[in-house]
């Protein structure tokens, strides 16, 4: 299925005002309906290598996987091909980056966060590791739909601190899960229903650390009609507020429904694609 007719996708990444290089990486495949954002860390500028590997590997593997089989086809376990593939590929990317980090001294300690989403069958399957985020704007309602794998989030979840206190915390940016820093990793994957009109925002912490959620939501509300301008505006706001980190965004606007082909005829035809 050609998703580019239903999805408008814009990606944008900026080194920010302080850092000399950009260790974030973004990519999107409008045809297959998926996008990936990675925020690299560790080592000495090797974060760039880690995030680059993540987007390149996922980009090519997911493309192959979804040519081979429709993302929404179900297997025996009741999980969609999209879900199964995302899990497998995120684990595979982790192994590849971990290996590379072990093999070269200048890459030692490198890792990356990851947010990847596949749009299929009127829903989106989202996998993430780390504190890069996916938000959704639906009508007037703007919310974060991934939960950060971070020390602060765990403290908030266990009632140790309030979200307001978290804003003043000195423990920001400490992630509890990352890709490439351990031989094994546990991706978190969820499916969400999608409605036409939804706008999804992937972002690295360079955005949400510099601009608060309310401002981000307001920007999406004001500029959803022009995704390029919206992306530029978000980055500009992060930079105007200090731009202390690389800042990256991916915006996906859903223009219509995209149900998976159903019925024996459609499935029969799908065999011949």
């Amino acid at each position: 299925m050609d998703m580019s007719a239903v999805l408008d996708i814009v990606t944008r990444s900026d080194p920010g005002m302080v850092r000399s290089n950009n260790e974030d990486a973004v990519m999107a495949n409008p045809l297959r309906g998926f996008a990936v954002l990675a925020d690299g860390m560790g080592g000495y500028n090797a974060g760039e290598v880690a995030s680059g590997m993540a987007t390149a590997l996922l980009g090519s593997e997911l493309d192959k996987a979804f040519v081979e089989r429709e993302p929404s086809s179900m297997d025996g376990s009741g999980k969609s091909w999209a879900h199964v593939t995302l899990e497998a590929e995120m684990i595979r990317v982790n192994a590849a980056i971990y290996q590379a980090a072990q093999s070269q001294p200048q890459y030692a300690g490198m890792g990356t966060t990851l947010v990847v989403a596949v749009f299929h069958d009127n829903r989106v399957t989202v996998g993430h590791i780390g504190d890069s985020r996916l938000y959704r704007m639906r009508g007037e309602d703007f919310q974060q739909i991934t939960r950060d794998h971070s020390l602060l989030q765990e403290q908030i979840d266990s009632g140790l601190i309030t979200p307001e206190q978290a804003r003043h915390s000195q423990n920001k940016n400490l992630v509890t899960r990352a890709v490439g820093v351990d031989p094994e990793v546990l991706p978190e994957i969820h499916d969400h229903a999608v409605l036409p009109g939804d706008v999804y925002l992937f972002c690295s912490d360079g955005l949400n650390d510099m601009v608060d959620d309310e401002e981000i939501g307001m920007t999406l509300g004001a500029l959803a009609a022009n995704l390029e301008l919206c992306a530029m505006q978000l980055i500009q706001m992060a930079n105007d507020n200090g731009g202390r980190d690389n800042v990256s965004v991916i915006l996906v606007k859903v223009k219509g429904e995209y149900p998976a082909a159903r019925g024996w005829w459609a499935r029969f035809l799908a065999w011949f694609k």
Binding site: G109, T113, E215, Q236, M237
Partner: protein
Amino acid sequence: MAKLILSMETTMLKEIPLTKERTTIGRKPHNDIQIDNLAISGEHAVVITILNDSFLEDLGSTNGTFVNGQSVKKHFLKNGDTIELGKYRLKFVSELPQQTSNADFEKTMILRPGAAHKPAAEPSAAAPAAQVVQPAATTPVAPAAAAPVAPSAPTPAHLSTSPGMAATPSAGAPAAAPALPLGAIQLLSGGNVGKEMELTKTLTTLGKPGVQVAVIARRPHGYFITHVEGTTFPVVNGKTLDAQAHQLADHDVIELAGIKMEFFLKN
């Protein structure tokens, strides 16, 4: 490394770095901070430090524990907070001047198990001097900055991700620097002629969705108008704009979706 500065009235008594997960305060000698005064309970309070954050907890003391004048049971400490126990003051200091270079602000780091128990932790082995974090045994990386408020022992290194010269890194202060005067729009034609709208928000959209929309962005150095959607672009002072943002000057006249309006700066 955060620390407490103990004083009584105007006399500074001592400085206590918060190196342990629990720093106890009380009259009994086993406390980390012993205050030998009858107004202080045997076990009065404790400061719990998790990496770079500290929390104060009153341990059921007789006379209570106060922070910035307010009685507290449990309190998340912010830089500059003053803890009051009887006549004694403990000032909480969490920001060290020029501890690390600007580029280490906001660096994301992996949290390792066990790291919460000691301030020093080390995510990567071979990272060179540019990395803030070092294993506890070695001397800290502290670059050639002016000697920070001198601890007598070498400061164990710590996982400082946002050592703060700047105040809260986020809390996206959307409004610009105080220097920027407030802009406003006054309608010169149409049904609401004469109506005025102050541009207080970071973004203000104008026009008719689906027909022609422009946005005015409030930035630190001025107000900028940009076309958002529609086949016709906004006209400013008679000139049609292109797709780029255009900075607005006092008394510029904007024409949009058939309505004329004036941009002006207040006071």
